[in-house]
């Protein structure tokens, strides 16, 4: 049925075109013969083809265009009175004799255009007559095309300012009046098209209707082109009339399209000056009209306008553009009860974008917008709609993008309140956006209050919110999130120690609430942030002594201690251990022996009680040794205790090579290459010897278990230590000992059981080369090496 419909339509169109061509042929003949009677007859017959009701707008347009081309020829003929000998006035009457209205009116418009051109009558009279007479065609499609023909032929003949048709009797007002009237009628016809379709064809009809919209919109375009439509006239006449029609037509499609049209065709300046009028129409539109797009367009345009030149900014202020837009949006939302929440929010997004672009200095405006949004959201359950959530994210991101400064956002009281209305998921997304913004712009959050607000904003990341099922968290996402938070923590900084301390306290408070899963991510940055503060305070320590200063390293160390302790609940002993060591080092630098000792104690306790994994132990012991080596704050006793412990642990490692390495590393604990560092050559040697013993034990074990003694790497490593201390002038390390070690290695390498190992061989070879080099270099060092034979 529908298929037939399509085919039939093509057939009808073909018939129509044929009819036009046929009559046009005779019309041309009559034109050539200058036979007015025949011309009128055939042109009327030709135009009768346009009376069809069978075509869709699209096909009808095709037909119309054919007729339109012919009418141009006709107009040429009418224009030349010498060809037909009838005055244009008489011609104007003559064409009205046609019995059928549609051909009659097409002819009338054609002659009318000639009539205006002849200036035998005031343009306004002719125009008025034409636009009135066209009322006779009430069929929507035919009427629309007829009137669009009228608009077309009259376009260059409007009595505009500066136009040749302007006269005493004809003012631009008449031109405007004419176009407005034609517009109104066309819109009425267009709207009527909607009312006519039966339900089942609605969709198709809507589509067809939409194809016709430009015919209507063209009038607005013409209006905007009229030179004489100045702001005054636009304000007093054009806009109110157009809006009246838009509001009264009560048609969704038309209202949307025409509002958009107004916004697009008239200058921004006009919009700005008539904002109130324009906006007041919005709440009156049908509830289904997509006002948000319309308003967004408007705000887009206005903000572009504002950006285009700084001169116009005062105008914006003068007309209170923001206030008007804001209240209009409020009213629209109020009026359109059924508007989905996403619509409302996207309106606020647009408004926000507008204010950010136009009034970047007015943070209060931003807050107002957010406040309005909160008001809209309040009393509603958390957002479910994905699009709405996206819009909220957009809303909240906009100020960040604009100011590149989270501090601004932190000053917005409504910002967190908007976030409250997001579900956990989106809240997190938003939090990440915030963090990214901070990271991107390197923004420094420098007061504790701001920090507090910030944590409130990103609380989705900072702690488990109610209702989040634990299992829905993706491990990797979680890590990613927490890493972001960790990065963020470094951005919380203030040069003033007191304030910084406050910040640190705030951080700590929030971090501690985060739950055990987050601590491993969030504690380290906190610790380092605090350590940074400590290092800054280091020098001033003496100066401020005695005063009531909260920000002393001691106090901070207390905080640190508590913080790291919290980690034990996780538990992540390795991490805690590292942090203790870091703190100990810092305490060392601050000359706080007891504190440092305490940290080391904590570290050792952790090592003993928590670090069970052998690999972890190796790492831990090396860290401990490394840190301990650098400590210079300890008195002999403390130091002895600690070094003793460390060497003890080293020797108790599980694997022999690990033992060996840890032990020779311990040698450094007794030889600090500083001016007043400890230099206990004997104990160094003891360590090295012990390492050697362990190494040979390892060799033997290897021999027994695998049948090969394994690489000599350990020996070479110990040799290197020997060389180090030898060069540093440890009197206990003699060239003879080195010589012995060299020989031992060589023997080991040549023994049958030794498996060749390229790595250890190369290592040994390089070491030998080094000795060689030192010998030949000359100077004190070479003398020392003299006795060593390679």
């Amino acid at each position: 049925m529908m298929l037939d419909g399509m085919e039939d339509e093509d057939k009808w169109l073909a018939e129509g075109i044929a009819g036009i061509q046929h009559n046009a042929f005779y019309m041309h003949r009559a034109l050539d013969a200058n036979n007015l009677r025949e011309v009128l007859k055939y042109s009327a017959q030709m135009l009768s083809e346009l009376r069809t009701s069978k075509l869709s707008p699209h096909k009808y347009y095709e037909l119309y265009m054919r007729a339109f081309d012919e009418l141009k020829k006709l107009e040429m003929f009418f224009k030349d009175e010498s060809r037909h000998g009838v005055s244009v006035v008489d011609l104007y009457e003559l064409v009205q004799h046609a019995g059928n209205i549609l051909p009659r009116l097409y002819l009338l418009c054609t002659v009318g255009s000639v009539y205006i051109k002849s200036k035998e009558a005031p343009a306004k009279d002719v125009l008025k007559d034409l636009v009135e007479m066209c009322l006779g065609v009430q069929h929507p499609i035919r009427g629309l095309f007829l009137r669009s023909y009228l608009a077309q032929v009259s376009r260059d003949k409007l009595p505009d300012i500066g136009s040749e048709y302007e006269g005493d009797a004809d003012t631009v007002m008449d031109a405007v009046e004419f176009v407005l009237q034609n517009f109104t009628e066309m819109n009425k016809l267009w709207v009527r098209l909607q009312l006519q379709g039966p339900g089942r064809l609605r969709e198709k009809l809507e589509k067809e209707r939409s194809e016709l919209r430009d015919l209507v919109g063209k009038n607005l375009h013409v209006l905007s082109q009229i030179e004489g439509v100045d702001l005054e006239m636009y304000k007093d006449t054009v806009l109110p009339r157009v809006l009246e029609q838009i509001v009264n037509c009560k048609d969704e499609l038309a209202q949307y399209y025409l509002m958009d049209c107004i916004i697009q065709v008239f200058p921004d300046e006009y919009h700005l000056q008539t904002l109130e009028t324009l906006l007041s129409a919005c709440p009156q539109l049908q509830p289904t009209v997509d006002i948000k797009t319309v308003l967004s367009q408007l705000m887009d345009r206005l903000s572009n306008y504002a950006v285009s030149s700084t001169d116009v900014l005062p105008e914006f202020l003068q007309v209170e553009a923001f206030a008007k837009l804001s209240s209009a949006i409020g009213r629209v939302i109020e009026a359109q009860v059924d508007m989905p929440i996403v619509g409302a929010i996207s309106l606020y997004v647009s408004l926000l974008t507008f204010t950010l672009r136009v009034h970047p200095d007015r943070l209060d405006y931003v807050d107002q917008v957010l406040g309005a949004c909160v008001k809209k959201l309040s009393g509603k359950p958390k957002l479910e709609d994905n699009r709405a959530k996206k819009q909220v994210v957009a809303l909240l991101s906009a100020p960040l993008d604009k100011y590149n400064d989270i501090v601004m956002a932190l000053m917005l009281s409504n910002y967190p309140r908007v976030m409250d209305h997001l579900d956990n998921e989106t809240n997190k997304v938003m939090a990440i956006v915030i963090i990214q913004s901070i990271m991107k712009n390197n923004t420094c959050i420098s007061t504790a209050d701001q920090v507090e607000v910030l944590f409130e904003l990103i609380k989705g990341l900072m702690k488990d919110l109610d209702g989040t099922a634990v299992d829905e968290l993706d491990e990797e996402d979680f890590k990613e999130e927490q890493n972001s938070v960790a990065r963020l923590l470094h951005m919380l900084y203030n040069d003033d120690p007191e304030e910084m301390l406050k910040i640190i306290c705030t951080m700590k408070k929030n971090i501690m609430d985060g739950g055990s899963k987050r601590l491993p991510f969030t504690v380290p940055p906190l610790i380092f942030s605090a350590l940074r503060l400590i290092r800054r305070l280091q020098g001033q320590d003496g100066d401020v002594a005695g005063e009531e200063v909260p920000a002393t390293p001691k106090r901070i160390f207390q905080i640190l201690n508590q913080t790291i302790e919290a980690l034990s609940t996780v538990p992540t002993p390795e991490l805690a251990l590292r942090l203790y060591l870091q703190c100990a080092e810092a305490a060392n630098d601050c000359d706080l022996e007891p504190v440092a000792y305490e940290f080391f104690t904590q570290a050792f306790v952790l090592y003993e009680e928590e670090v069970a994994d052998s690999k972890a132990q190796v790492t831990a012991i090396h860290l401990i040794i490394g840190t301990l080596q650098r400590m210079n704050v300890f008195g002999v006793e403390n130091r002895d205790t600690l070094t003793h412990k460390a060497t003890g642990y080293s020797a108790k490692l599980l694997k022999k090579p690990d033992q060996c390495r840890a032990v020779y590393a311990c040698s450094h604990l007794f030889w600090v290459d500083d001016q007043d560092g400890i230099k206990d050559g004997e104990r160094v040697l003891l360590c090295l010897k012990r390492a050697l013993r362990i190494a040979s034990a390892a060799q033997q074990m290897s021999n027994v278990t695998r049948g090969s003694s394994g690489p000599v790497t350990l020996y070479v490593e110990i040799l290197n230590k020997y060389l180090y201390f030898f060069e540093k002038g440890n009197p206990q390390i003699t060239s003879a000992a080195i010589q012995g070690l060299l020989e031992l290695i060589t023997t080991e390498m040549q023994s049958d059981s030794a498996a060749p190992n390229t790595v250890s061989d190369a290592f040994f070879a390089s070491t030998q080369r080094y000795i060689q080099f030192q010998k030949q270099k000359g100077g004190v060092m070479s003398e020392k090496y003299d006795s060593v034979k390679v």
């Binding site: 004799h97 019995g99 209205i101 009659r104 007479m133 009322l135 009430q138 069929h139 009427g143 006519q196």
Partner: protein, 302 residues
């Protein structure tokens, strides 16, 4: 009537000329045989004067019992064709009985002739004016020559000419208000008006304005009415909605109208009506007919 003449060659030529024939306006009329000829135009109270020339065929004489010219106003009903009713009959004797040997001219004049009715060619009735020249001959039958002329009478502008305004409708269906600017129109007039739709519940397709002529002939039981639609003028295309106002502008000049004739000599009447017809999508017609009076206004030029 003159069948004998048909048997012989007419023995003379009669020509009738009007004294102001050159300057007088000529109008076309349609003869019975379908030919259109131009004839002079008069109006009531005019002098109808001229000259009648009788020219015998070479070498013949016309022997007659007298020559006369008559001015006749006749009404002919088509159901009674050939039977004329003369409502006006004036006679001028031109010659006493005698012979005519050569061309002879007779001036004649009917002064201030009362010709109250206009020439009219209707569907069932015809009113005509004719000059009839009769050369009476005893045995051979008379020689008769006719000269038609047309009479048109002009009316002054009516002193009262109210508009026609009316509200009509079908309950809960269609309610319109229409207005024609006048009730009396002259022949070249324009009907201006509008139709205002107060209520439209039916799907209209279009609306026409028709001009209908109602010619009634005879009287009493024999009255015969013939209605003819002279104009069908489309006013509106498509379906209006409530509140629409459709303009009317109908030029009367293209149509062959006559003035309204009321009870012409008790023989016939010609009346005109405007018929507003609304057609719905099922081709049902809704109409309202209003009589208008048409009159002939003196044209300024001519």
């Amino acid at each position: 009537m003159n069948y004998l003449i048909g048997a012989f060659k007419p023995s003379c030529n009669i020509s009738i000329t009007f004294s102001d024939g050159k300057s007088r306006k000529q109008v076309p009329i349609k003869k019975e045989n379908g030919h259109t000829v131009m004839v002079p135009l008069f109006q009531s109270q005019e002098n109808i004067a001229g000259k009648i020339s009788i020219e015998p065929i070479q070498g013949k004489k016309v022997d007659h019992n007298g020559v006369k010219v008559e001015l006749l106003g006749q009404i002919e009903m088509y159901f009674d064709r050939g039977n004329f009713y003369d409502f006006t009959s004036l006679v001028r004797e031109l010659d006493v009985p005698g012979d005519i040997y050569e061309k002879k001219s007779y001036p004649f004049e009917f002064s201030t002739v009362e010709m109250p009715y206009e020439t009219y060619n209707g569907a069932n009735v015809r009113l005509r004016y004719v000059l009839k020249v009769t050369i009476s001959r005893g045995y051979a039958g008379s020689i008769v020559e006719y000269q038609d002329f047309v009479v048109r009478n002009y009316s002054p502008l009516p002193s009262i000419n109210n508009s026609i305004k009316m509200e009509v409708g079908i309950e809960d269906c269609l309610h319109i208000e229409f207005e024609y600017n006048k009730s009396k129109y002259h022949l070249k007039d324009v009907i201006i008006g509008k139709i205002y739709f107060l209520l439209v519940r039916i799907k209209l397709k279009n609306m026409d304005l028709e001009i209908r002529r109602r010619e009634s002939t005879g009287s009493g039981a024999n009255t015969h009415v013939e209605t003819e639609t002279l104009a069908k003028f489309e006013l509106m295309d498509g379906a209006p909605v409530r509140g629409e106002s459709i303009p009317i502008r109908l030029f009367l000049s293209p149509y062959e109208l006559t003035p309204t004739y009321r009870n012409i000599n008790n023989k016939f009447s010609v009346k005109y009506y405007l018929n507003l017809v609304l057609v719905d999508e099922e081709d049902r017609r809704y109409f309202k007919q209003q009589e208008i009076t048409i009159y002939r206004l003196q044209e300024e030029t001519s």
